[in-house]
């Protein structure tokens, strides 16, 4: 038995939490697995391990990891600029960060493909140096980077604000150079937030459909994402096949998120964070 908390209302709040989580998350997710179980083992393997589906896993998870990594670098930079400097129009820039949250993803996809297509503003410039973005796997990364940006910024920003510039000044006055200040003082403090932001951006990217299909080109074996495979199976009224692929995605995502959490725990200890 766990030690009784001094806060009242434990049973009620825990009961509600479990009820709520079951209703919103667990029951719908378990339906995915139940539907999958209507397949025989051979049918299941056929549905989830055909070359086309495997190629889509590689693209979806690979592009999501790359996109989340890009967001870590530029998201931290953005959060840094927004917390450490005062400049004209800062509030507006701050609001821009949330755009990918608010914009319907299909609109994002259409805008991105319009800009990055060979006849678009950026696409025409890139075309001159031989880089095609729209309708290639690179386009998938661009779309996933777009939708994932706010997650890193919004998780790192409050931590940086909380950290205050004084600790950096203290470090500097004790003789640390800029790199040491970043590495020894700032990074350990924001590290958990960075990893959380990474995990959120990654998870969001894995499930993204709306923005990607407009810019991906959707070529089988090349630029077809797993959510599109699921939609394709649904279009053929193959409910069980669709849920089977969804179940595999869930399991892979769960393992990866679990690994990210494990890494966070490990690096917290290593960087000397006392919980």
């Amino acid at each position: 038995m766990a030690k009784k908390s001094s806060l009242p209302g434990f049973n009620l709040s825990l009961g509600y939490t479990i009820f709520y989580l079951s209703l919103i998350v667990l029951i719908p997710l378990s339906a995915v697995f139940f539907k999958t179980f209507t397949l025989s083992w051979d049918e299941f393997v056929q549905a989830v391990a055909s070359p086309r589906v495997v190629a889509s896993y590689k693209l979806t998870f690979g592009a999501s990891l790359i996109a989340a990594s890009i967001n870590v670098v530029f998201g931290v930079l953005t959060a840094w600029v927004l917390t450490r400097y005062e400049f004209f129009g800062k509030k507006i820039v701050d609001a821009f960060v949330d755009f990918p949250f608010a914009l319907p993803t299909a609109v994002a996809g259409i805008s991105l493909s319009a800009i990055y297509a060979k006849n678009g503003w950026i696409g025409s410039l890139l075309d001159q140096i031989g880089i095609a973005v729209a309708y290639t796997p690179l386009g998938v990364v661009v779309a996933l980077t777009f939708i994932g940006l706010p997650f890193v910024v919004r998780t790192v920003q409050p931590v940086l604000e909380d950290l205050g510039a004084e600790v950096e000044e203290a470090g500097a006055s004790l003789g640390a150079n800029r790199w040491q200040v970043f590495y020894k003082i700032i990074l350990p403090a924001i590290w958990p937030a960075v990893i959380t932001g990474f995990a959120l951006a990654f998870a969001r990217a894995v499930g993204e459909y709306g923005s990607v299909i407009f810019i991906a080109g959707n070529m089988p074996m090349v630029s077809e994402i797993t959510p599109l495979i699921i939609i394709t199976k649904l279009e053929q009224y193959d409910y069980a096949g669709a849920t089977a692929v969804a179940a595999v995605m869930l399991v892979i995502s769960f393992i990866l998120l679990f690994a990210i959490n494990g890494f966070q725990w490990w690096s917290n200890r290593r960087l000397g964070h006392v919980k």
């Binding site: 056929q46 297509a117 409050p158 958990p192 937030a193 080109g217 074996m221 279009e235 053929q236 009224y237």
Partner: protein, 352 residues
């Protein structure tokens, strides 16, 4: 520690916003449902027509005409609610319980599924109205850029090297399926065998740089993103592109032979019996075949199917050699199984 706490709060607030958005969506759906329901409960009769994505403009004209016709004939005021979306998604909604009085699709398998999955209609629904319950049809034609720089005249020109062809994905789009079957039928109708047809279709899809999930997406890719030398899509979509984006930018090319893409309609028996709207739904469907209904179809570049209307609009629609899917492939379900099911011929094109 405080930092961590704040972090958690900020994450929770993000999650919270998403949950709220989801709840809003749910509320909106519930409200829409309630709206339809209250409509049916009141004195005014309403019909819900669940249709495919690009029939919006057609029904915007057809529905007011029917409402007026029905008012004059019976004195009853009727409202018609429309729902549009990707065809098999729409069919799935009806199977899963959306109370559609009538369903209007661009492929018969998307209506067959109402019988197969939920027994909402009888198996022989296509026999209940003339022309296999299809008041209108379209066909797959080619749209090329002004001046036809790649000199595309017929199917054979599409498989030449360095010709980029835009076709919507046959796995997700009825439009794409018709085009694929048209290409296959072209080979068979010219004395080729199955192996030849497979080779031809494989070559054709090797020339496709982008597979959009639907017909409208393919239009955007071709017309606005400047991708491809030729777009293969429905005739009515081609006319619409010319009307919207300028007749001076593109040219229509009619191939020597193509597929007849019928747009079938059906009333959903289980729903109309429950809502007591069978008379109105039946009249609405029959109105599709009336002279007014056929004229409206022709206005939207859908080929009329009633003989008198075909003659009347012969100037608009170039006479073409068209074959039915059933004629070449036996049945739609056979075509689906052989070509578009997972591991089928279409998948083999992309297998490495």
């Amino acid at each position: 520690m405080a930092a961590l706490l704040q972090l958690k709060v900020s994450i929770q607030s993000i999650m919270h916003i998403q949950t709220i958005i989801h709840q809003l969506k749910l509320t909106a759906v519930a409200l829409a449902g309630a709206f339809v329901f209250s409509n049916s409960a009141s004195a005014e009769t309403s019909l819900l027509n669940v249709s495919y994505d690009v029939s919006r403009e057609y029904y915007k004209d057809l529905n007011p005409a029917f409402i007026q016709y029905w008012k004059e004939k019976t004195g009853e005021t009727i409202t018609i609610n429309q729902s549009h979306g990707g065809s098999s998604k729409q069919a799935r909604s009806v199977v899963d319980g959306l109370s559609a009085d009538v369903i209007t699709m661009n492929r018969s398998p998307d209506i067959d599924v109402l019988y197969e999955r939920a027994k909402l209609i009888p198996k022989d629904w296509q026999k209940r109205l003339p022309h296999a319950s299809s008041p209108t049809a379209s066909t797959s034609v080619f749209l090329v850029r002004k001046g036809n720089p790649k000199n595309i005249k017929d199917w054979d020109d599409l498989v030449k090297p360095k010709v980029a062809v835009v076709i919507p994905n046959p796995k997700t789009s009825g439009n794409g399926k018709y085009t694929y079957l048209a290409a296959w039928g072209y080979v068979l109708k010219n004395g080729g065998d199955e192996a030849k047809a497979k080779e031809f279709v494989t070559k054709l899809f090797k020339n496709v740089p982008v597979l959009d999930t639907g017909g409208r997406g393919a239009t955007t890719t071709f017309a606005q993103r400047d991708i491809g030398d030729v777009l293969l899509t429905f005739e009515n979509e081609v006319f619409l592109i010319q009307k919207e984006l300028g007749a001076d930018k593109f040219e229509v090319i009619y191939p020597s032979i193509s597929v007849l893409a019928e747009n079938p309609v059906a009333l959903v028996d289980k729903v109309v019996d429950k809502r007591k709207t069978r008379t109105q739904a039946q009249a609405y469907l029959e109105f599709h075949f009336s002279e007014v209904g056929q004229d409206i179809a022709a206005k939207h570049y859908l080929r009329p199917q009633v003989d008198s209307a075909v003659t009347k609009h012969a100037a608009t629609f170039k006479p073409l050699k068209l074959f039915k899917v059933e004629e070449v492939f036996g049945s739609w379900s056979k075509a689906e199984k052989t070509h578009f099911a997972d591991g089928g011929v279409f998948d083999q094109i992309y297998a490495k």
